[in-house]
C-alpha cells in the first residue's frame, strides 16, 4: 500500500476539494491486492512530482461517504481533483509508465 498521507470523509473538503494544487486521491482498501500493488508506484510518482501534484489515499472501507459521493465501484480508482472538480479518473492498477502517461497533464 501507499505511504501517501491519508484523507478521510471528515478531511476531504479541506485536504482535497480546497487544495490549491491538483490532488490525486487513491481510493483503496486493505483487501484489494491490486491496490497494494499500485501503492508503491504512486509513492515513486509522489517522490518525483510532489511539487506539482499532491498524492493522498482514502480507505473506502473506513470512509464510505466519499467513496459513495464519487460513485466508486471498482478499486484501485485514482481521481485527480483540480479546484474541487474531478478532472481525471484512472481505474485499475497500472505500471508506472502507463500511470505517468495518464497523468502527463499534471506531471509533464
Amino acid at each position: 500500500m501507499s505511504a501517501a498521507p491519508a484523507v478521510t470523509d471528515a478531511s476531504f473538503d479541506a485536504d482535497v476539494l480546497k487544495s490549491g494544487k491538483p490532488v490525486l486521491v487513491d481510493f483503496w482498501a486493505e483487501w484489494c491486492g491490486p491496490c497494494r500493488a499500485v501503492g508503491p508506484i504512486l509513492d515513486q510518482i509522489r517522490a518525483e512530482h510532489g511539487d506539482k501534484i499532491e498524492i493522498v489515499k482514502l480507505n473506502v472501507d473506513e470512509n464510505p461517504q466519499t467513496a459513495m459521493t464519487y460513485q466508486i465501484t471498482s478499486i484501485p480508482a485514482m481521481k485527480v481533483f483540480v479546484n474541487g472538480e474531478v478532472t481525471k479518473t484512472i481505474i485499475g492498477a497500472k505500471p508506472k509508465p502507463a500511470l505517468e502517461h495518464d497523468l502527463a497533464d499534471y506531471i509533464g
Binding site: 483487501w31 484489494c32 500493488a37 460513485q71 465501484t73 505500471p95 508506472k96
Partner: protein
C-alpha cells in the same frame, strides 16, 4: 549476465525460482509491477493446494512462495518486461523501467489474462459496474443485484463470494452444464441468493453513466430479455499471455506456447516455458507449480550442458 531469468511470478514462476535458487543459479524473477503474484492475488480462499487442510488465502500463498524463493537466493524485481531477444546463446530482457538484463536461459511463465466479452460498451463501463475482480469490488455492491458471467470454478467461487454483499447474484452461463468442479457447483446451487440463468449469453451492456442492466440472449430460443443489475463480474476464462514472444516462440494451436512433449522446452534453446502460458487444459495452481519445477530442472540441465567459458561469464556477474 545471469544464468537464468524467470519472467512471471505466479505459482509457475515462483516455483521455478525456488528450484533454480536451490540449485544455486541465483535466478532473477521479473515479477511485474502491478500483477506480482499473478492470478491468485485476486482470489480468496484456496482449498485445493496440498498441505493446507484449512485452506489458505491466495495472496498469502503467493507471499509465502515469494518468501521461499528469496530465502534460497532468488532476486525479485517488481517491473514489467517490455521486450525480449531470445535467439542466440545470450538472451536479453528489457523492462519498463528501462533496464536490460542478459541471461543464458529464460523461463517464460507469464500466465494468462482475463478474457473479455468483446462487447462494444465493455471498456466504457469497466469500473462503472463492470468488474474483473470480485474480491476487489464486491464490497461496493452491498444490497445490490449483480451477475457473474461464466461457468468455471472461478465463476462459482466469485458468485459465492459476492453473496456476502449483494442481495441477489445471477450466474449467466451459455450452456446447461458447468465446467466447475462438483463441490463448487453444489455450493453455488445451494446458495439461496444465487440464481442460474442457463443457456444465456450477454447480448449488450446497458447504462449511460454506469451499468443498469444487461440484455441476455437465450442460446436455444434466440429470445432476448433484460436483466436489471448494478454490477457485472466477468469470469469467462483466460487467454495465454504470449504477446511478448510472438514471432520468437512457436505457439500451439490452442494459442499457448508450444513445448516439446512433457518438457518445458520451446523451439529456442535455452528458453523454457511453464504454467498457464503453456497449459490450455488444467490451469491449476498446483499444475502451474509443477510445470515451473519442470522448467527449472530443464534449465538446470541446459546450463550444465553449456561450454564452461560461457557459464563462467554468467557466474562472474
Amino acid at each position: 549476465m545471469r544464468q537464468v531469468i524467470i519472467i512471471g511470478s505466479g505459482p509457475a514462476g515462483y516455483t521455478a525460482a525456488i528450484y533454480a535458487a536451490r540449485a544455486n543459479f541465483k535466478p532473477l524473477v521479473i515479477a511485474s509491477s502491478v500483477e506480482a503474484g499473478g492470478e491468485l492475488m485476486n482470489t480468496t480462499e484456496v482449498e485445493n493446494f496440498p498441505g493446507f487442510p484449512e485452506g489458505i488465502m491466495g495472496p498469502e500463498l503467493m507471499m509465502k512462495m515469494q518468501e521461499q524463493a528469496e530465502k534460497f537466493g532468488a532476486e525479485i524485481l517488481m517491473d514489467d518486461v517490455v521486450s525480449l531477444e531470445l535467439a542466440g546463446d545470450v538472451k536479453r530482457v528489457t523492462t519498463g523501467g528501462g533496464q536490460t538484463f542478459e541471461a543464458l536461459s529464460v523461463i517464460f511463465a507469464t500466465g494468462s489474462a482475463n478474457r473479455k466479452l468483446g462487447l462494444p460498451d465493455e471498456d466504457r463501463l469497466s469500473g462503472h459496474g463492470v468488474s474483473w475482480c470480485a474480491t476487489c469490488d464486491g464490497f461496493f455492491f452491498r444490497q445490490k443485484t449483480v451477475a457473474i458471467v461464466g461457468g468455471g470454478d472461478s465463476a462459482m467461487e466469485e458468485a459465492n463470494f459476492l453473496t456476502r454483499f449483494a442481495d441477489k447474484v445471477y450466474v449467466i452461463h451459455r450452456s446447461e452444464t458447468l465446467r466447475a468442479s462438483k463441490i463448487m457447483q453444489d455450493r453455488a446451487m445451494a446458495n439461496p441468493k444465487i440464481e442460474f440463468l442457463w443457456n444465456s449469453t450477454i447480448d449488450s451492456l446497458n447504462g449511460a453513466e454506469s451499468l443498469t442492466g444487461v440484455t441476455i440472449k437465450n442460446t436455444v430460443t434466440g429470445d432476448l430479455s433484460e436483466v436489471e443489475l448494478q454490477g457485472l463480474f466477468i469470469a469467462i476464462g483466460n487467454d495465454p499471455r504470449t504477446q511478448l514472444i510472438h514471432g520468437q516462440l512457436d505457439l500451439a494451436p490452442e494459442g499457448t506456447v508450444a513445448v516439446k512433449g512433457r518438457t518445458s522446452k520451446t523451439n529456442l534453446t535455452g528458453v523454457f516455458a511453464a504454467g498457464d502460458v503453456v497449459d490450455p487444459t488444467y490451469r491449476q495452481a498446483v499444475t502451474a507449480a509443477a510445470s515451473g519445477t519442470v522448467a527449472a530442472l530443464d534449465a538446470e540441465h541446459y546450463l550444465q550442458s553449456l561450454p564452461a567459458e560461457l557459464l563462467a561469464q554468467a557466474e562472474n556477474n
